[in-house]
């Protein structure tokens, strides 16, 4: 059972050994589309960190206090998605109102991640693995950071690659997927160090 796993173990595992992007391959579409520049990738990464952390907590509460007591756990997909979408929309409105700088750095990416599967994936994994609220919080935070780390690393590589001569047939998404695969191999080196399920 997962009760015993320390929250910091889950936190580090989510970043390195069980990186949601590189081991589960979730959140690929925005990973491929917005990884051209380090600056924009950082913005998107930060947005994902924030949304993942908060939605995992919100979804944990909804699961624990609405779905479980009513025996409606099979509705978790719908409920989680609706909560994520509403939260992201609300967040975008608030950020846009409060600060232009923050909106430009972070808010603009929010619509892109409303339907990001990595975010839904985090909520579903935490339910499957029966995490506590604290564990879920750190799992969300860690997964977000792991995702951000992967996309920023990818953007760094792609920025260098812009100057490289890539075979025509591989340019764009092709070479990006190959690089993502090699990065995943590298992250596999961490696997087995921490057990989180």
């Amino acid at each position: 059972m997962s009760q015993g796993i320390a929250f910091y173990a889950i936190f580090f595992a989510a970043i390195f050994t069980n990186n949601i992007l590189l081991t589960n391959y979730l959140g690929m579409c925005s990973f491929l589309a917005v990884s051209r520049e380090v600056k924009t990738s950082t913005g998107l990464g930060m947005a994902v960190v924030f949304v993942m952390t908060v939605t995992s907590v919100l979804n944990w509460l909804a699961y624990r206090y609405i779905l479980l007591p009513l025996d409606l756990t099979y509705l978790r997909y719908i409920v989680f998605i609706v909560i994520i979408a509403a939260f992201v929309q609300l967040l975008e409105m608030i950020i846009e109102r409060v600060s232009d700088t923050l909106y430009s750095a972070l808010g603009i990416f929010l619509p892109l991640i409303t339907v990001n599967c990595a975010i839904l994936g985090v909520s579903l994994f935490m339910v499957i693995r029966k995490y506590t609220l604290l564990q879920s919080f750190f799992y969300g935070l860690g997964s977000g950071i792991g995702w951000a780390l992967a996309i920023i690393a990818m953007a760094g590589i792609r920025q260098k690659m812009a100057k490289a001569r890539i075979p025509k047939g591989l340019a764009g998404a092709g070479i990006t997927l190959i690089i993502a695969g090699i990065m995943a191999l590298a992250f596999m080196g961490f696997s087995g160090m921490i057990k989180i399920t």
Partner: protein
Amino acid sequence: MTVAIQLLIGIGAICGVSTVLAIITVIADATIANYGDVKIRINDDKEVVVSGGRPLLGSLMEQKIFIPSACGGRGSCGLCKVKVTSDAGDYLPTELPWISEEEKKQNIRLSCQLKIKKDIAIQIPEELFNVKEYITEVASLRDLTYDIKEATLKLIEPGEIKLRAGQYIQFQVPEYELSKESIYRAYSVASQPSVTDRVELEIRLVPNGICTTYVFNHLKEGERITINGPYGEFFLRESEREIVFIAGGSGMAPIKAILYDMREKGIKRKATYFFGARAVKDLFLVEEMRELESSLEGFTFIPALSEPSESDRWEGETGLITEVLDRHIGTGDDTEAYLCGSPGMIDASVKVLTEKGIPEELIYYDKFA
């Protein structure tokens, strides 16, 4: 029975969650995302009021001002660029891939990404702002020569047109025996911009031409005709250079508009107008041009005939337009040229002009293909 209860609870829970979230979102939309009305000032002469907080592109569209866009506002085509002259905040990361350094200096923004939260001033090309469909009525038809007619169309709805001297409109030919569906043909406007309630067109008969045949054989005074426009980049550039105008046939139209416009605006640049025709029967508006010579300082009109007949008793210039040009134009690069006529005439004339040292980028033309 238990299944039914389960179902009801399930539906109730989904509805409950959704309702709560929907209420929160609606309240947020009405409070947090409510920016009130904002004003968009366009080209310093028009102002529209829209509700704030939404992208510029869509807000303009609502006001029937259409910025070209291919992707429908998702920021993936980069076409909907608009120059913003007031402070509209920093560039968003979603705009940057489409904006060059040069455009950044001019504060050109991607209108589908730029949300307007406060009053804003923008510059858009006049023609975007202006292209409209006009219902007109044929006010008069007049023979300028045996094969050129002047048609004056009075604007009914909208009642006014704003254009630059030298631009053209599209004339909608209704279906008739030569065409199964209505088609559009472009004609330069011969009336100057200060004439806003009508457009004058000069239409030359082209054997079997769909539009010209219609105009010559069917069009009647009082008939309703639909046009749209204005379009085109053929207008006088601002400079102090000497001007050479060259036209043939109905190519007279945009040049005439430019000349009358120059007189009204008091533009006194040295200008020479070469008009090529075959014989005297092909010349028209000669008196108007002679009159301009006295009322427009620096202006000279040089009609040239290639095949004057005996009975013409022609004492003016003779020969092909290229020969006449060659005789009259000195060498030098401080001249601008504006040409309007058949492709053959334009190509031959451009050759002479460049040989005389006029840079190609200072030669502007409207080809009648």
